[in-house]
Each structure stands twice: as C-alpha cells, then as structure tokens.
C-alpha cells in the first residue's frame, strides 16, 4: 500500500531509495544486525546519513534537521525500514536530541547537538529502575545539590547498549518531599564520571543488549541539568511520546513476512497439510499488517493536515509489537526441528550452527521479541493510556 504521492514526493521517494541502494554499508548486512555488529560497524550508516544531512529527520532545520514535511519524514522512515537498514541510535537522535533542542539552554544545544548528529556521542537512557518499571514516576535515584554539582546516587536498569555509551540521560529525584511527578529532574551524565558502573544483563536469547547502571556519588555539574529543576517529568513524557510513534514497524514486519514465506516454501512440501495452515496463518498476519499500515497512512495524512493523533498513537505500539511477535513465532515454527538450536553469543565464526542459513536467527529473534510487549511502556500500560486518554474510561 502506498500514500498517494505528489510528483515531488514521488521523486523524493526515488531519491531515498537510490541513496540507500548505493550507500548502505555491505558490512552491516549481517545475520542479526542488532547483536552482531561492533559499535564502530553500527555507526557506519549513521555517519553516512550525517554526511548526507539526513540523520535527524525529526529535527528542525536550524539544529541540523533536513527540513522535511510530515510526508517526507514518513517516506524516509518507510524506505529505510523496507530496505532493512539499521536505524540510527534512537536514544541519541530521536530521544535526547529533541529534549535538548526543545528544553535545553544555548550552551547545551551547542555542546551536545552536533556530537549527536555526527555520532561522536553515544547516548543511553537512564529511566527504569528496579522498583520503577511501568510506574516511572517513582524513580528513586537521588540528586543532591552541592555547590556547582549534583551528587547522584541510584541504580538504573534495562539500560540499552550502555556498554557503548558516552552519555546517559537520567531521571533523578531532586525533591523527595514533592509529589512523585513533581520532584523529578532531567540530568545529563558523562558515563566516564567516577562512580558510574555498568553491569551487563544477559537476556534469554543469550545476547547482551541491556545493562544495570550503578551511580555512586557521581558528581554532575549543574550545567548538565536540562530545563528547570523538578520539571523533568514533563520532558520525560515529551520524550516517550517520540518513542511511541515509530513503533508500527510496517517495513520490518513486511520484510520478515517475505522471509517467512521463503522459509515455508523451502521447508514444507506443498502436499503437506501443514503447508496450507502456514499459508493461512501468514495471510492473517499480512491482513493485520495491512490494517495497521492503512491506519498509519490515515494518521500520516491527518498529521500532514495538522491533526495530532495524540494518545491514540499507543495503538501502533500495541499492534506493531504483537504482529512482530506473531511473525517471529511463526518463523520459529516454520523451521521445524531446527528451532531447537540457537546461535551462541558472543558470535564466533567457528561455532557450528545446524540447518539452512535462513533459519539461523529464528530462535534468538523469537526469544528476543518477547521484550517488545514489555519495553517502552508495556502493552498493558498502552491499553490503559487508550482507555483513559482516548475512551475517557
């Protein structure tokens, strides 16, 4: 399904398509880009996009954005995702960048924004804590003002790719006596500061994506406070809004469905009754994708007319993640007995993995995708949001 594009937008789409085909680094085409690339490798595409001026579609032109319309941004998102490119690090470009240019001061903008655009700084997100998952407003990491510094103590968790990070943006409690939402501040912390410790968390697929981050008497200069003290909750909510909109994942789902079709064709003979069952299951998922894509296009058309979907955007997170989980599960089923095997991490070329190449990442993807309905505000929380903010229940 395509948007009805003006000739200019169609030309833009062709330009994006050609650019990706000509410039996406072949060394980033590995079996599982999310786990198999080194930090340097995963930044290759980032740097290419930066050079082209396309690294931050969301950003206003004055801060280094390309100055695209809503439709152009959507086209870019669609094309990059259909082509299976690894998206630039969301924590840097999509999350902390917009917070800094929206709420930060001039010095912060000057210091941080160019380094985000160039990929020089790698950011991670210090939101969740062991006691604060869905209920983020209860963060307990403390920041106490001492002269020109805050002294920060606490424990952040589920911190994605903190092992690579130069900086972490943190929600910290600056006023313990205020109501939970009103005593929080938004603080930028250099990961090289004394007192910052990163501990890996290995997940059920055997990969190392997330971490615990311990903050022990970390001295943070007051100039790293974003906006006003105790107003951090506002900035945090602003950021989470950005996180939710791009979660439909149509391009990714479409790519994985195409791969699944090839696997079914290769693995299950047409005269096996299971073949027809798989075709039916795949068709049902395709219809789910079609319906979500149509919804996304409808919302994009509305946004182009200046209508904000608001909290209804939660539906993209819910359905996008459910659909992708269904696809990974069906793919894992399609490879039959080979679904019992899993690649060992850290990946070593010498390790033996049985079965055809197309099945090698099916198990780890299936297991890893269980996180999708949990992170970024669990799907239960997203349903609460729609119930309250959209349906008025």
């Amino acid at each position: 399904m395509e948007l009805k594009l003006s000739p200019e937008d169609a030309a833009f789409r062709d330009e994006v398509r050609t650019f990706i085909a000509e410039s996406y680094p072949p060394e980033m085409r590995v079996p599982n880009p999310e786990t198999d690339l080194t930090k340097e490798q995963s930044l290759l595409w980032h740097r290419i996009l930066h050079k082209k001026g396309w690294i931050a579609p969301l950003w206003p032109k004055e801060y280094g954005g390309p100055g695209w319309s809503v439709t152009q941004r959507f086209i870019f998102e669609q094309e990059t995702s259909r082509a299976g490119t690894l998206p630039p690090l969301a924590f840097s470009v999509t999350m902390v960048g917009p917070v800094i240019y929206t709420f930060g001061n001039e010095a912060q903008k000057k210091k941080f924004l160019p380094r985000i655009l160039s990929g020089e700084d790698w950011w991670c997100q210090g939101y969740s804590e062991p006691g604060s998952g869905s209920d983020l407003a209860t963060v307990r990491t403390k920041a106490v003002r001492e002269g020109d510094h805050y002294i920060v103590n606490g424990h952040k968790t589920w911190t994605t790719l903190a092992q690579h990070a130069d900086w972490i943006f943190c929600l910290v409690r600056t006023d313990p006596s205020a109501k939970p939402q009103s005593g929080i501040s938004f603080l930028l912390i250099d990961m090289k500061s004394p007192g910052v410790t990163v501990r890996p968390i290995i997940t059920i697929d055997g990969s190392h994506e997330v971490n615990d981050v311990f903050l022990e008497n970390v001295r943070v200069p007051v100039e790293n406070l974003v906006g006003e003290e105790n107003k951090g909750w506002t900035y945090a909510k602003f950021l989470l809004g950005n996180e939710r909109t791009s979660m439909a994942g149509i391009g990714r789902s479409t790519r994985y469905i195409n791969k699944l079709k090839q696997i079914v064709k290769a693995e299950i003979p047409a005269d096996d009754p299971a073949h027809l069952e798989f075709l039916r299951d795949i068709a049902r998922i395709e219809l789910d994708v079609l319906a979500l894509e149509a919804t996304e296009l409808r919302v994009v058309a509305q946004m182009a007319r200046g209508i904000d979907p608001g909290p209804a955007a939660s539906l993209f997170k819910i359905r996008g993640t459910e659909i992708f989980q269904d696809i990974t599960e069906l793919t894992h089923r399609a490879i039959g007995n080979y679904g019992l095997a899993i690649r060992e991490h850290p990946v070593s070329a010498n390790r033996f993995m049985p079965g055809p190449d197309y099945g090698h990442t099916a198990s780890e993807k299936y297991l890893n995708a269980r996180k999708l309905s949990i992170y970024g505000g669990s799907n239960e929380i997203q349903r609460n949001i729609i119930a309250k903010a959209v349906l008025g229940l």
Partner: protein, 376 residues
C-alpha cells in the same frame, strides 16, 4: 478421574522431589548446563541409585514395573526443576524401544546397562527434510552378512554428544516417504563412519547433526516395520514430555502468582489489577486442563487404550498451546525480569518452546488428531 497414587508411587514422587530439592536447585542446574559436558554424570548416577532409571521397565526386564505412570511422576518433577539429563532419550525412547522390540539377547545386553546408569542412549529419527514425519527417511541400510550397513544423515539429535548408543531409523526398502520399509538399528555412537557436529539447544541441552557413512548397525525389531514402532515410541515420549511440560507450567504459575503479590507499581501490588488477575485465572485454568489431560494420557498409556495414539496427539497439542500461553504470560507479567537469563522464568519458557518442537508442534498434532478421527 483423578489418579490416586499408590504408596509406591507416592514414595517415588517424594524421593525424586527430595533429591532434586537437595541437588538440583536452579543455581546447581546452571552450573551443570555450563559445564564442559553439559550434563551431570553424578546426577545420572544418583538417578540410577534412586531407581529412576529402572522405574518404568517390567520386572522381567530388571525394572521396577512402574510403567507409564512412574514416567509421568518422574518427568513431572523433572519439569519442575528443568532437569537436563537425558532421561527421555535413554529410558523412555531407547529403553522403551528395546523393551518393546528387542530380542531376549538384546534386552539382556542393553537394559541392565541403562538401568544401572552406565550407558546413555538416544534416538536419531529426524532428518533434514523429515520435519515431524516419522516415515520420511532417506538414510539407507543394506544387509551385509548378519549385520547391516547404514549411510545417510540425521539432524537435531538431542543428547547425541552424550550418548554411547544411538537407535537410528533407516530405510531398508521403499521410497523416501513410504510408510513401509523403515527399520531401526542399534549403532555404537563411537563406531567408525559416525560423525557428529555438536551444538547447544535453546533449553540448555546438547544435540548433534550426525552423518553416517557405511556404519555397522544391529537390527532392532522387524525389518521394514520401524514406523509403527516409532509411532508407539512417540506416544510414550509424548506422555513423558507432557508430564514435563505440566511440571514447568505449574512452576511458572506459582512464580508469577508470587511475583504479582509482591511486585509493587502505582502504589499497590500488580496482582491487584483486574486485567492481570484475569490473565492469571486463565493461566490457572490452562494448568488444570493440562494436568487432567496429562493424567488421562498416562492412564491410557498404562492400559493400552485403542485410541491411544490419537489421544497422545490431542494432549501434545492442547498441552503445547497451554504451555505456550502460560510461558508467554509468565514472561510478560514478570516484565523485564522475565527476559533475563538470571531468573528461572525464561528458562522454563525455553524448555516449553523445545517441548513444543520435539516430536511435532501443537499445530502438527491437532491436525493429526483430526485426521485420525476422520480415518476411524
């Protein structure tokens, strides 16, 4: 219908429970899985000493005569503790086939070694293109004197790296997918011409791709009738795997319930939220249904019900779907913690995922259940 355990069965259950409680805590299991060999010969010896390796075999064969109900009891406890040692492979699959098909000489030669714990066995039936079809066999065997010589390849053979002996299905006549013409052979895993490529499975076991080139094998059972034998073997395996799955489901439910009563968000325990309460009620119902079917199947295996194989497929499917639902929700309700390697929840998830592949997934078995009805 509710199985009232006899005194002996109760004793079996409590002794397995005690052994695993003392020696198979989650951290101890983690060490076993991470060890060089990937399973514990010390545990295996303890199982032998306790009589677990003798439990299902008839007294005539040197066993304790416990039958399928003893397998159910053992496997249910193994499922609760995620035991990785190859009990299904050695005792249920290979032991069962030897008891069912072996000549008196073969029984006397092989069963005592299984029962005393000195030899490990597994069954190699899956091939690259076989998927879940027991009759899809391209490995070939030809007669040479009193022996047979096998050539071909088997895939995803769980416990093969640990095994001393393999039971291999190979074609002695017919075309690749013919039901007739498949025979079973005992093969020494270290025999010349047997090559293994080993790897780890998602549930912390070891498996191998096996290539066979002119390998000597000893016929087990009647030539050409291997598929019927494998079907009966699969029914027994399903009984064991279902009991294991139900044990895992029960543990996931307890862990999730406990977590929901202690984990606080938004000023209250998450168990206070109705949407999660209903989820856990559905998990409870899934467990109850699975438990009932497990017992029903094990009783039918004991009495040799005529519709046994259809019931086995039905139970494999229904318990498979129940397991997947419970495992999905247990991870979901534990939030990020459920995704970690550190917590046991994800490991139950992975074991249930594996069970759902072994001997056919829930979709395969619901179809077989329907087809056997239509054929009746």
């Amino acid at each position: 219908m509710d199985i009232q355990f006899t005194e002996e069965q109760e004793l079996l259950r409590s002794s397995v429970q005690r052994l695993l409680r003392d020696q198979y805590a989650f951290e101890a299991r983690r060490k076993i899985v991470a060890s060089e060999e990937g399973f514990s010969r010390k545990q295996w010896a303890a199982f032998a000493e306790l009589g677990l390796l003798a439990a299902p075999f008839s007294e005539g064969a040197g066993g304790l005569g416990g039958g399928p109900l003893s397998t159910m009891i053992v496997m249910h406890e193994f499922g609760r503790r995620l035991v990785v040692e190859p009990y299904v492979e050695t005792v249920v699959l290979a032991g069962g086939l030897i008891e069912q098909l072996g000549t008196p000489e073969q029984q006397q030669s092989f069963l005592p070694e299984i029962i005393e714990g000195s030899k490990i066995w597994t069954l190699a039936w899956t091939e690259k293109a076989s998927r879940f079809d027991l009759a899809n066999v391209t490995t070939r065997a030809r007669r040479e004197g009193s022996d047979y010589v096998l050539t071909g390849a088997k895939t995803m053979v769980i416990a093969a790296p640990w095994a001393d002996y393999l039971i291999v299905s190979a074609r002695t006549s017919g075309e690749d997918r013919d039901r007739g013409g498949v025979s079973l052979f005992v093969v020494d895993r270290r025999a010349s011409g047997v090559d293994l490529q080993s790897f780890k499975t998602i549930d912390g076991r070891r498996a191998a791709e096996i290539s066979l080139r002119d390998v000597r094998g000893q016929l087990l059972g009647a030539e050409g009738e291997g598929v019927a034998a494998l079907e009966a073997c699969r029914d027994r395996a399903i009984g064991a795997l279902c009991a294991e799955a139900v044990g895992a489901i029960g543990e996931l439910n307890s862990a999730t319930l406990e977590y929901s009563k202690t984990r606080k968000q938004f000023g209250t325990t998450i168990g206070a939220f109705q949407v999660l309460q209903h989820r856990m009620v559905d998990m409870f119902i899934a467990h109850q249904e699975a438990l009932s079917l497990m017992q029903h199947l094990s009783l039918s295996l004991s009495t040799g019900d005529s519709a046994l194989s259809r019931l086995a497929s039905g139970a494999k499917s229904k318990i498979g779907y129940a397991g997947r639902f419970v495992a999905d929700q247990a991870v979901q309700l534990h939030g990020g913690m459920g995704m970690t390697d550190e917590l046991n929840v994800g490991h139950y998830f992975k074991r249930i995922s594996s069970i759902n592949i072994q001997f056919g997934d829930p979709a395969f078995h619901v179809l077989r259940y329907a087809q056997l009805d239509a054929a009746a």
